[in-house]
Amino acid sequence: MGELKVFLQTLITGLAIGGVYALMAVGYSLVFSILNFSNFAHGVVIMLGAYFGYYMCTLFHLPISLATTGAMLGAGLLAIANEKLAYRPLRLRSAVPLYFMISAMGASMFLENMVYVTVGAHFFSYPEVFKGSLSILHAKIGLLDVVALCVSAVAITGLTLFLNKAKLGIAIRAASRDMTVAGALGVNIDKLLSVVFFIAGAFAGIAGVFLGVKYMVYPTMGWITNKAYIAAVIGGIGSLPGAVIGGIILGVVESFVATYVSTALRDVFSFSLLVVLLMVMPSGLLGKTLEEKV
């Protein structure tokens, strides 16, 4: 009985962590599917999303739902600005993806250090919301995790519907096949990319608020997205269902390694998993192409 309880608890914890990984991985995959580069600035957009949400909760005393909406909007606009300032000039010069990636790293370092200089290195915690936990067969799951899982599921389903049904969504999928041809056929690529980055940013905003509420808010919190990036690669970067599956797999594997092997060795396992998987399936579980994967 005790063994089963531990197993169930481990599984639930893994799913909860995996849900947040999935939410972050979607942002990576979305941008990769169109521009074919790894947007390493996604982590700081998540971090700033967490700060936006925090300030809306504490300075303006907004409820968490409005603060999350605000964080989505703020992070979305920030992501658009990031694209316009850091990637568009490269795009117009038809630079290779490597330069986009380096530009992303630059933007990431710049924003992180801006937070250090302006806000400082202090830790902040959100007001206590969704406190408490539910019991499922003696295993506990935090109320916040339940909310996070539900919101992640709704957001990802919504995005999938948008990409498959809406006109703009279809244009995005067309551009992800071939941006040049889509452009030649009358899709406004500039506008389309703004929409893509806004969506990625809004997802980062949700992820940031959840991370902030679950853990805390501080300038280097964006580093956790390394895990989300691995999740995206496991699932096949560029593929949305892949990002979700990759996130959940990574969360569950980490949780089981931490419980049954050792917490200290957990990251060794996550990274080994990535290496082995890429040796067997070089494009990830649901990857669409092999070219320009970084």
Binding site: T13, Y116, A121, G132, S133, K140, L211, Y215, T259
Partner: protein, 386 residues
């Protein structure tokens, strides 16, 4: 026109060099003390308060005429509580600023990184809060001649925590979670385990995680199954705040017990209600009447809650000033001798500050048990060493 520019340039150069020269000569009129401190980064809450405490001590000393008739000049260098940054900061203090002594490097692992540099330069260093025994005496038992500390050490702290858990909380089953990436955490966990077992208690579970971890639910879930009375968390305030919340979420009912690293007031906000009823071992009690008065007098300088590092840095400066006055010179070796011979010196946190010359650790440092109640630090009791 060109000649005019040349003339101005020459004038500026002359003025500049004159200023430089006067700067150099005034250097010998002051005594430069370095402060290697985490002004930014994760430990900045401690570092900023420590720096303010030290500045207050220096101002008071200067008002009374300074040391050896010279004014004290404080030079700060940011360590970010990071070993690499610290090596650079300490090197700058001894090589460029030519300080006569250094106060600071609050973290044990980081202080050890600074040790070779101060030893080579023969500049004494007084660490404020590094509690690991190997900071002043290395693993082979050799005394680090130039390194001192004002705080107690971890074997003592671990013993206090174990005795408190066993005798006062009546705990018989203890669980521990610690950070394998931190010397402080790893050793304090071990000292607690040894002492608790010696007293007759059982350590039912011991789990490790790696620095930077945010989610402790996997190790905590394992510890929950052992049903401990006490969960010992020798962690930083950030990790501890996360861990107590996640432990309560998983339904762990044990009393939480922490080390001196919990003594940063921001833990109260970060940890929230999950911290209620927890205890930790502190280096100084902010409720002590003498300390309370000092804090009230200087509150406006801090612009926020006063962290115990401020008190220890203040003590370190009084100790250093006393030693240099007795040594009658700023020669490193002579200062070391005087520091070693300190006995019954009245400082802020104790009336009789004495040093063990064999270990460079203070003697008779009391430990203070602090309880977290109604979202505040409350003095619980004072533990005298046996």
């Amino acid at each position: 026109m060109k000649r005019w520019i040349a003339g101005v340039t020459a004038l500026v150069l002359m003025l500049g060099s004159a200023l430089l020269a006067s700067g150099c000569s005034s250097g010998s009129k002051t005594i430069k003390i370095g402060h290697a401190v985490a002004l930014t980064g994760d430990a900045s809450v401690f570092g900023q308060s420590e720096h303010t405490g030290l500045k207050i001590a220096v101002e008071e000393i200067n008002k009374k005429g300074g040391i050896l008739g010279k004014q004290v000049e404080l030079v700060a260098a940011d360590t970010r509580a990071d070993p690499t940054e610290t090596v650079n900061a300490v090197r700058r203090l001894v090589e460029q600023e030519k300080v006569v002594a250094i106060i600071g490097v609050a973290q044990s692992g980081v202080a050890m990184a600074a040790t070779p540099i101060v030893t080579q330069a023969k500049v004494p260093m007084i660490s404020t809060t590094s509690t690991n025994p190997y900071v002043t005496v290395d693993k082979s038992g050799k005394l680090q001649k130039y390194v001192f500390r004002v705080c107690f050490i971890d074997p003592y702290q671990g013993t206090v925590a174990a005795e408190f858990a066993y005798n006062r909380l009546n705990a018989r089953k203890a669980a521990i979670m610690y950070d394998v990436g931190s010397d402080y955490s790893q050793w304090l966990a071990k000292y607690f385990e040894d002492a608790f077992t010696k007293l007759g208690g059982t350590v039912v579970g011991k789990e490790a995680y790696r620095t930077g971890e945010l989610d402790f639910r996997a190790p905590l879930g394992k510890l929950k199954e052992t049903e401990p009375d006490v969960l010992f968390l020798p962690l930083t305030q950030k990790d501890a705040a996360l861990a107590v919340n996640q432990a309560r979420e998983l339904g762990i009912k044990a009393t939480f017990l922490g080390g001196d690293n919990w003594g940063s007031p921001d833990i109260l906000k970060l940890g929230g209600s999950a911290l209620e009823g927890s205890y930790f071992i502190n280096l100084a009690s902010l409720d002590d009447p003498g300390i309370k008065k000092w804090i009230e007098q200087n509150q406006s300088r801090f612009g926020g809650p006063v962290v115990r590092n401020a008190l220890l840095a203040y003590d370190a400066m009084l100790w250093l000033a006393d030693a240099i006055n007795r040594a009658k010179t700023t020669d490193g070796d002579k200062i070391v001798e005087a520091l070693e011979q300190t006995k019954d010196l009245p400082v802020l946190t104790t009336d009789k500050f004495s040093v063990d010359p064999k270990t460079h650790n203070p003697l008779n440092r009391a430990a203070y048990i602090t309880k977290i109640q109604n979202g505040q630090f409350v003095f619980f009791e004072r533990f005298e060493p046996h």
